[in-house]
């Protein structure tokens, strides 16, 4: 355990170099966010009633919470680094050292998220403070606790998906395109663009058989109090199931990949 705590420490030091970059990223991210909020405001202004059960306040809160969950869970450079490690043969050292590569990458991911969240918190909090009239707070402590648990699992799931995707580098030279294709799917199916329940019911139903909603839409729905009672616990169980499945798949792909792996050069 000691060695992994050490890795997190190193990860934190390494990512601190990027703090200005992170800050700029969080700040620039507020531009499309503001645009989307203004767009919805205009739509609500010209209509009576809500959109698919969302009041304007809930709709704006949805996007604000998405931004927070995204700060906690998004992968930044991790997948590119894993792909580069495989391509350039850096993983050779992990095959002979008593360090598990998946655990190693997870420590670095955790460190990266800690720093990113700490840096992004400043602009995001100020932004939310300006929009406080539109910001919904969680109904009770249970919702908040379930939200926290769900965000943690979303982070695990997001990491495992990206990790497995990057492992494709064992077989193909250029994984960037695959990563971007997956990212595009995630953008829609996880609920980045809009809450999934404004989609036609059939599409929404279909999406629930994929892991994507559990990356973002599910935790945000818990926060907004749209999922409660038995459905909440059931959802958390399904999310945990996806995390386990993701873990199993990541291990499986890694084992297959290492068998195929041949380090070139010294």
């Amino acid at each position: 355990m000691e060695k992994y705590r050490h890795i997190i420490g190193i990860g934190i030091q390494n990512t601190l170099v990027y703090r200005v970059n992170f800050f700029a990223r969080a700040l620039f991210g507020l531009i499309p966010l503001t645009a989307t909020i203004l767009l919805w405001q205009t739509i609500y202004r010209d209509r009576v009633g809500d959109v698919a059960g969302y009041t304007l306040r809930q709709m704006i809160s949805y996007y604000l919470i998405v931004t927070i969950v995204d700060a906690f869970t998004a992968v930044a450079e991790d997948d590119w680094q894993i792909a580069a490690d495989i391509r350039e043969g850096n993983i050779s050292q992990f095959l002979i050292k008593p360090i598990d590569y998946l655990a190693y990458r997870f420590c670095l991911y955790t460190a990266g998220r800690l720093i990113y969240t700490a840096v992004a918190l400043v602009p995001i909090s100020i932004f939310i403070f300006c929009l406080r009239d539109y910001f919904v707070l969680p109904k009770d402590a249970t919702a908040l606790a379930a939200f926290a648990l769900s965000v943690a699992m979303a982070g695990l799931l997001q990491f495992l998906i990206s990790y497995t995707m990057a492992l494709l580098s064992f077989w193909v030279l250029e994984v960037a395109t695959f990563i971007f294709i997956l990212f595009a799917f995630e953008y829609l199916a996880a609920g980045h663009l809009f809450p999934l329940d404004i989609l036609p019911p059939a599409v929404m139903q279909a999406l629930h058989y994929t892991p994507f909603p559990y990356l973002l839409y599910f935790p945000v729905s818990i926060y907004l109090g749209q999922i409660t009672g038995a459905a909440l616990w059931q959802g958390l169980a399904v999310q945990a199931g996806w995390v386990l499945a993701g873990y199993a798949l990541a291990r499986f792909i890694w084992n297959r990949g290492v068998k195929k792996y041949a380090a070139f050069g010294g």
Partner: protein
């Protein structure tokens, strides 16, 4: 001085540009499958933007004064301009920080041609043209849904305004890229560009207040796709909107040139 002398530099630069094109085509054809996959990626993102607007319009009749197919036309135009920009400039702008970091810029400065010309136009990304074609397809479809019958002058005006918007894209991105002279780690630049131009495909009627003012008069991203499409759909409130787009494009270009010169003065190679 006779006519030939005045034209000579243009012809020389045209010849240089042709050589750069030939180079790029050869390079791209070396990675055919990758080339096709990138087109798939861009198509997916384009589809995503269209989905976003379609889903929104399944819950509302209009956004401000904009109807569904007008917005589809807008998304198409924004994508068209962005893809032409990608084809001609994007890679070159993002590579500027690499050239600075590795000191490759030294060689470019020494060549007997305008450095900004070379830095900006070195590579051509052919996939961008194919993606631009898909955007044209969507625009034509939307125009038919709207029963638009634009006059030849309108279409010509639209194309001309798109070219002006292209200048805005290029100037702003070049400005962003030139920040690499100050911070060496500039991977965030592309990300910043995409975040900024995200709002280009949204109808201007959605915006108001200081946000609209900033992204119209300081960083004119709201104008980029909106003005050409408004010309095409007869939505222009006054000809001043066109004048504003032209003025802002020139201002952006002047700002980027000023910043570029200022930055170059600061440049002290990467290594000896």
């Amino acid at each position: 001085m006779n006519d030939a002398d005045i034209l000579a530099p243009f012809i020389r630069y045209l010849g240089l540009y042709a050589a750069l094109w030939k180079n790029s085509v050869a390079r791209e054809m070396g990675f055919k499958s990758n080339f096709l996959l990138w087109i798939v990626v861009e198509l997916l993102w384009f589809g995503l933007q269209l989905t976003f607007m379609t889903v929104i319009y399944s819950h509302t009749e209009r956004i401000g004064t904009w109807t569904k197919w007008e917005v589809v036309l807008l998304v198409g135009a924004a994508h068209f301009i962005q893809q032409i920009f990608t084809a001609l400039f994007l890679v070159n702008c993002t590579q500027l920080s690499e050239h600075i970091r590795t000191g490759k810029l030294d060689f470019m400065l020494l060549l007997p041609i305008n450095t900004r010309f070379l830095v900006s136009l070195r590579q051509v990304d052919l996939g961008g043209f194919i993606n631009a074609a898909s955007a044209v397809g969507v625009m034509i479809y939307a125009a038919r849904e709207l029963h638009l019958t634009p006059s030849a002058a309108q279409v010509a005006g639209f194309v001309a305004l798109c070219a002006v918007s292209l200048l805005i894209h290029y100037s702003l991105m070049f400005l962003l890229a030139a920040f690499s002279f100050w911070t060496v780690k500039a991977q965030g630049i592309v990300w910043g560009y995409y975040s900024l131009f995200n709002i280009a495909r949204m109808p201007d009627a959605a915006f108001h207040g200081p946000f609209k003012a900033v992204f119209t008069f300081v960083v004119p991203i709201i104008l980029v796709a909106n003005v050409p499409v408004k010309l095409l759909t007869n939505k222009l409130e006054s000809p001043w909107e066109i004048a504003l787009l032209l003025t802002m494009a020139l201002a952006c270009f002047a700002a980027s040139e000023l910043f570029w010169r200022q930055s170059l003065r600061r440049y002290t190679s990467a290594s000896s």
